[in-house]
């Protein structure tokens, strides 16, 4: 793979690492019995969905931005 392609593919790599980390955090929040777990898990789920929608689904391309 050329260096240019590596750079182009990097947003996806960053996103999947972020998603993996957030999934690990939500699992730990659940098993550790953190107070207000429902709130934290909801926030984490919204952030994860946001990462997928913005990075993987190119939401902004609908509004004129070019998908990467």
């Amino acid at each position: 793979m050329s260096p240019l392609r590596k750079v182009a593919a990097s947003p996806g790599a960053t996103a999947i690492i972020a998603l993996a980390a957030l999934t690990a955090v939500e699992y730990l929040v659940s098993i550790a019995g953190v107070p207000a777990a429902f709130l934290w898990l909801t926030i984490i789920a919204v952030v994860k969905a946001g990462v997928i929608v913005m990075t993987f689904m190119h939401l902004m391309s609908v509004f004129g931005g070019e998908a990467r």
Binding site: R5, A15, L19, A20, A45, A49, I52, F56, G64
Partner: protein, 188 residues
């Protein structure tokens, strides 16, 4: 043929692509209503309770698999845009395999669930409804991806990558739904 159809067919390619994207997002939005309704039903019936017999290991494993499949789907779409046919085939195949493993994981969970919380119980009804509707969408996405794979083998998407983009977006949507279903079924 309606006037709107004629207008879309005669629109410049860039406009057609934008119209197609808006149409797909509207479809995704309408599908979301179904899942929001199911999620609302789950919290109405069960509050924030989760059945203790639900398998945390399987839940975490299938969630990780589905997230990984979103990455390979993203790479498949990227390969299609770059005209990288071997990459498109490779990443689409990987996404298909991960999707099939996910469905296998859900099936395994169902076998255990039938003993621990049968469909007649409140949690069982909620669990089988949520995972069943979602699994049906995963299977639909797998069919879509299989069609993309077959098309990519024939070189169909070398001039127009929109079908790949549409199929991959649908796959990501299925992933987004699971992002909310996973904590609702396993963690809260």
């Amino acid at each position: 043929m309606t006037a709107a159809t004629i207008t879309v067919q005669h629109a410049p390619p860039a406009s057609r692509l934008r119209i197609s994207r808006v149409g797909l997002w509207l479809f995704i939005l309408s599908e979301s209503m179904l899942f929001v309704g199911v999620l609302a039903t789950r919290f109405t019936l069960l509050g924030t309770d989760v059945h203790e017999a639900v398998s945390q290991q399987i839940g975490l494993a299938i969630t990780s698999i589905l997230l990984a499949s979103s990455y390979t789907a993203f790479r498949a779409e990227h390969a299609a845009r770059s005209g990288d046919r071997p990459g498109l085939l490779r990443y689409t195949a990987m996404t298909l395999v991960l999707g099939i493993v996910f469905v296998g994981g859900v099936t395994l969970e169902w076998v255990e669930a039938f003993h621990d919380f049968p469909p007649g119980t409140i949690f069982g009804t909620v669990f089988f409804t949520m995972t069943g509707i979602h699994a049906f969408h995963v299977i639909t996405g797998l069919v879509f991806l299989a069609i993309i794979y077959a098309g990519a083998r024939r070189g169909t998407y070398e001039s127009d990558a929109w079908p790949v983009e549409a199929g991959v977006k649908y796959w990501h949507f299925v992933d987004v739904v699971w992002v909310f279903f996973y904590p609702a079924l396993y963690l809260i």
